[in-house]
Subunit: 343 residues, 2 copies
Amino acid sequence: MKRTEIASLGEFGLIDHLTKNIELKNSSSEKGVGDDAAVLSYGNKKTLVTTDLLLEGIHFDLMYVPLKHLGYKSAIVNFSDIYAMNGQPKQVTVSLGISKRFSVEDLELFYDGLALACQEYGVDLVGGDTSASLTGLAISITCLGEGEEGKIVYRNGAKETDLVCVSGDLGAAFMGLQLLEREKAVYDGKKDFQPDFTGKEYLLERQLKPEARKDIVKFLAEEGVVPTSMIDISDGLSSELKHICKQSNVGCHIYEERLPIDYQTAMMAEQFNMNVTTVAMNGGEDYELLFTVPLFMHDKVSKIKGVHVIGHITKDGNGFILETRDGAEIEIKAQGWDSIGEE
Amino acid sequence: MKRTEIASLGEFGLIDHLTKNIELKNSSSEKGVGDDAAVLSYGNKKTLVTTDLLLEGIHFDLMYVPLKHLGYKSAIVNFSDIYAMNGQPKQVTVSLGISKRFSVEDLELFYDGLALACQEYGVDLVGGDTSASLTGLAISITCLGEGEEGKIVYRNGAKETDLVCVSGDLGAAFMGLQLLEREKAVYDGKKDFQPDFTGKEYLLERQLKPEARKDIVKFLAEEGVVPTSMIDISDGLSSELKHICKQSNVGCHIYEERLPIDYQTAMMAEQFNMNVTTVAMNGGEDYELLFTVPLFMHDKVSKIKGVHVIGHITKDGNGFILETRDGAEIEIKAQGWDSIGEE
């Protein structure tokens, strides 16, 4: 593959090169890349803003994450935060810190992935910036979106008897990561090594090319459902449940048998000798939506494809309870992904 | 000094701790730290957004930059980008990537500096996030601001015969950096080393605690002046002049004798055997405003304290000219700070 040294373009040349084909499509994007700041116009809509800093070795491993996938996923995790507010992502800015080992072509791949995610979700890239990094790749992404007055959903509105709902299935992205880590350990520099991923494509896809649940936000709107609280599952169901319960001053009661788990996740957990419920409760990076709705909306949410009612909200002080298949009630512990906590 | 390990608080505990005293003051800040995204309301104003990624070893050296100053400066450089659009910064989000060598107290210092800058410039901190970093400190800052329809100033509006204006003085931040680097080299681990900064306080302050030119934006508004183009000087005057000229399809003619230079900058350049004009043209991080106004506004801009008319805009193709004190015309080369270009 062709390798163009980044230094041959310089900082401004590089960002011009990477952003030259970008067209703005949203009417709220007035001015994109190329000035001191982007200019947006949200009229009477609310502006939502979320930001993420992704660092090599902590949030991703370039040993098995292709740069195009990384670009795609970096955008998706931010879009997901905007959907979790019941909003629509509209603009994204990206800053990269890059070391000398990257070529212009490497960064083109990253931008290809980013552009693909933007295209699929109707988001404009309005700001880009690159600088040197002494060590690994650093990616800073900020996403802006719009929300409608009265329809923005926070984490703090869950009420007693509300239904706890989750989209999609849980734990697959975590098992995908375990699988990649295992193959990386087996590989260990061997020539002609071919990792064995047969029958595990879903797990890999969930880890390497996650999607944000734009569709669920749309279905909810079509059904006239505004959740009482919502959050996206990035650090694991247990951790996100606790955020909602703590901020809403309530407890929750979740049923183990109702946790949505794909058969590949279950099989892989079996192979790894892991408890699949623990995987579903604590595996991160699913980017599914966890939300609560009033009890009377049961029929409305049940008919939304991909939404599962997994429990209900209880009074404050009743704890965070997981009812197991055999009827035992155990306290949910958040063992979600926390990059800086005690191990 | 007390040292509290970050791991003792965990990721969520840490960010709660660092942001617990933050109050939102701007009416456009509806919801700050603590949800998937912040919620802002700009009504009929335009939203401006700018973002920066600052990496240890590239953008700052913790050997001589105190963490509180770093927090302050990280905010200021982003506010400066919003002022350069003729806007007002209103909200800021910060993400930190931190290694184990930092304590909770270290991060409190960083946040103290950030909070001080926010207070002095009337900006709300609406999003915060921390994660681990395997290597150095990584700081990602996004600033949002508001601009008024028709009064936002881009880089591309400079016209032939427009006056080229600059605020404050140039090159001091660069000389401050040279001074710090020299003392660092002299120090080299010596015990009881006392760096000698007497008479050079202004240079240090310009490097370590820069300010953004909120006052100039206010004065311009009071005088009813909307510049035809504007940019902030982060990479050096030459580089910023070229951005304006290229995007406006014009040339420029600058007079060496009109470049505003503080006497400390001049003395320090003399000591370092550097050409002071080169320092003023290419030294970065001044965070002054460079802007153009129509010729007939000469009297209006001249009476604004701290604004200097340094030249005028010429026809496209006439080049970027610096007229020296002895009347020679030389082509301006942008040697501004470019972290990834060829050396």
